[in-house]
């Protein structure tokens, strides 16, 4: 357990149940996704989305995007070499992830899905730890409490409820803390995503849902996922604002998420940010995207390639052995059942038999 919650006083943190419903028009997204950088890379000011970043922070954003791209490429290569079982690339989504994650403060939390290498790097998660999940050495190997980066979650949309619960807890505890819940466009169809948004709306929990609309859920395009005008429009149904940004514009992704984060920090409840982007790679390394989309479509989204090398990651993964099989019994329970002694002994005996 982390430090026990300190205070449960009713006010001022009591659930806002019964609070007046907001005016729906104030919740609607802008007609066009917010863009601060145009296609030529020229910065434009957009009213309501001020940019509060100095030169050093801008460099850091760029650095993290480059790092993400290099490590992502490296991961794909590692998979091709048989070092990883599978990998879900975030190529094309670096700006959406780095920009949105940058909007969180040190104490804030991110609950990712499985494609958030960029967000993980921003939170200081060791990329090798992340890739060990895809290698299968362990199921999750970083301390979420040390990084504010939760476990990756493969059952689609389920992690949104963990984010919602954490945000509810923070609100009841009166903590200065905002939760960023990462989802894909497909995940917005899942019941758990709906329940998470509804819960955070009802309890006015400080949770920002960052939906990376990369246009595909494996092969299924957005149009088959929802008949809503945009994903951001769904927010209205939960009484929270829906915001849209150009997810390929790191500054827009940052500024729009930041606005939602500040609102939440200010006690104004959850928000949904739709970052419009594109998945340049297949769904995972096991996917063949030529079966459902054209090269021409992908080419339209193609940006400038960044060509660099990453060798450190390779070393951390290359031929890394799996751990001690007996550790399998180690973490399931704090207080394991007696049957574990017997079964551990059985496995030990089987292992000894294998050794000549």
């Amino acid at each position: 357990m982390s430090d026990p919650p300190t205070s449960h006083a009713l006010s001022p943190h009591s659930p806002a149940v019964g609070a007046a419903a907001p005016d729906p028009s104030s919740l609607l997204p802008d007609d066009e996704p917010v863009q601060l950088l145009d296609d030529e890379g020229v910065l434009h000011e957009v009213a309501g989305y001020p940019l509060d970043l100095g030169a050093e922070e801008l460099r850091q954003l760029y650095r993290h995007m480059v790092l993400t791209r290099r490590l992502d490429k490296q991961a794909i290569n590692l998979q091709r070499q048989g070092q990883l079982g599978v990998y879900a690339s975030c190529l094309g989504q670096e700006a959406a992830q780095v920009g949105s994650a940058w909007a969180g403060a040190a104490q804030d939390w991110i609950w990712p899905s499985y494609r958030e290498l960029g967000a993980a790097l921003v939170r200081g998660v060791d990329p090798a730890a992340l890739l060990h999940v895809f290698r299968g050495t362990w199921l999750g190997d970083w301390d979420p409490r040390a990084t504010g980066f939760g476990l990756i979650s493969i059952p689609i949309g389920t992690q949104a409820l963990h984010a919602a619960g954490y945000a509810m807890a923070a609100r009841f505890d009166g903590a200065d803390l905002v939760v960023l819940s990462y989802l894909g466009d497909g995940a917005t169809s899942e019941g758990d995503a709906h329940e998470a948004m509804n819960f955070t709306g009802v309890f006015q929990a400080p949770c920002v849902f960052v939906v990376q609309n990369n246009h595909y859920a494996i092969s299924v395009p957005l149009a088959q996922q929802t008949h809503a005008p945009t994903i951001a429009h769904k927010a209205v149904g939960y009484g929270m604002p829906g915001l849209r940004c150009d997810g390929n514009d790191v500054l827009a992704s940052y500024a729009v998420t930041k606005k939602a984060v500040e609102r939440a920090r200010d006690g104004q409840g959850p928000a949904l940010v739709e970052a419009v982007t594109y998945r340049m790679e297949g769904h995972t390394t096991a996917d063949d995207p030529t079966r459902y989309r054209s090269d021409a479509e992908t080419a339209e989204w193609q940006g400038d390639e960044v060509r660099t090398r990453a060798s450190q990651l390779r070393e951390a993964i290359y031929d890394a052995p799996h751990g001690d099989p007996l550790e399998l019994f180690e973490h399931v329970y704090v207080q394991p059942p007696a049957s574990y002694d017997e079964q551990r002994a059985q496995l030990r005996a089987e292992l000894e038999q294998q050794e000549p």
Binding site: M1, S2, D3, P4, P5, H8, A9, L10, H13, S14, P15, V17, W111, W138, L139, G140, D141, D143, P144, R145, G150, L151, S153, P155, T158, A160, L161, H162, A163, A164, G165, Y166, A167, M168, A169, A170, F172, D173, G191, D192, E195, A196, N198, F199, V202, E330, H331, V332, Y333, V334, Q335, P337, A338, S339
Partner: protein
Amino acid sequence: MSPITMAQALNTALHDAMAEDEGVVVYGEDVGVLGGVFRITDKLQDRFGETRCFDTPLAESGIVGTAVGMAVYGYRPVVEMQFDGFTYPAFEQLVSHLAKYRNRSRGHLSMPVVVRIPFGGGIGAVEHHSESPEGYFAHTAGLKVASPGTPSDAYGMLREAIATPDPVIFLEPKRRYWLKEEITWPVEGTPFGRAVVRRGGTTASLFAYGPMVRTCLDAAEAGEAEGWDLEVVDLRTLVPFDHDTVTDSVRRTGRGIVVHEAPVFAGFGAELAAQVSQRCFYHLEAPVMRVGGFDLPYPPAKLEAYHLPDVDRILDAVERSLSYV
């Protein structure tokens, strides 16, 4: 001292746990102002306020999924599924997350969460209100599964469940909510994994948990007329399972009969029978008999009495066991 019901014992356990530990929060559907449809959370909101006992939107997956997040934060959520049959929307959160979280995080994130479920039949309820889902949960590594058979155990086991650092599926035998018992306070927490012999005997051993404990005691009493001296063992927790008490009992009586409301096929009784036959093979005078519901979807209320195990069905099984000589 006047006797109290199992429902009151559970309410008192929640109350005492909340008073003792600020991190304990109770939530679910209608558990706040109403105090729960069975009043198990009665007056907790009055006493502890709306951030410690509160109603959620109507969404079971949401209730269990947010409990995972609240536990990561540091709370000890005790959530209620309104009825057994409405636990299924939360199945994924229970199996894919609550049960696995500690393991997936390599021990970083424990899940001190209790999921309370009023379960079982016998109250003439409408469809989906009489299910016995314990087998699903006992089969899921990472969960603990408990079901009290008496009011004082209801108190002691719920306190233990809340204090346990692992996730506990706490199955409350709803037909026994009104069962009364004189309780001598204070009641200590009842350690998990310790079955209890409710009635000593020599003819055969009856094994039960939750709602069937009372039924087995009734059967043992009725069996006296046949000249049978039946032992009744209350398992209390299915996970962890108390091998010692179970095998000790069978080694003494030579015969085991396991009783539950759930359908017999692939039910928890199959696990018990297998464990006993492996551990007490040479002590057994007869195969372990299983008594349960039929392999049917839970029947309509007017027919449930035909489905549920009762004293006669239990005594028939005793007779079948005794026919092996």
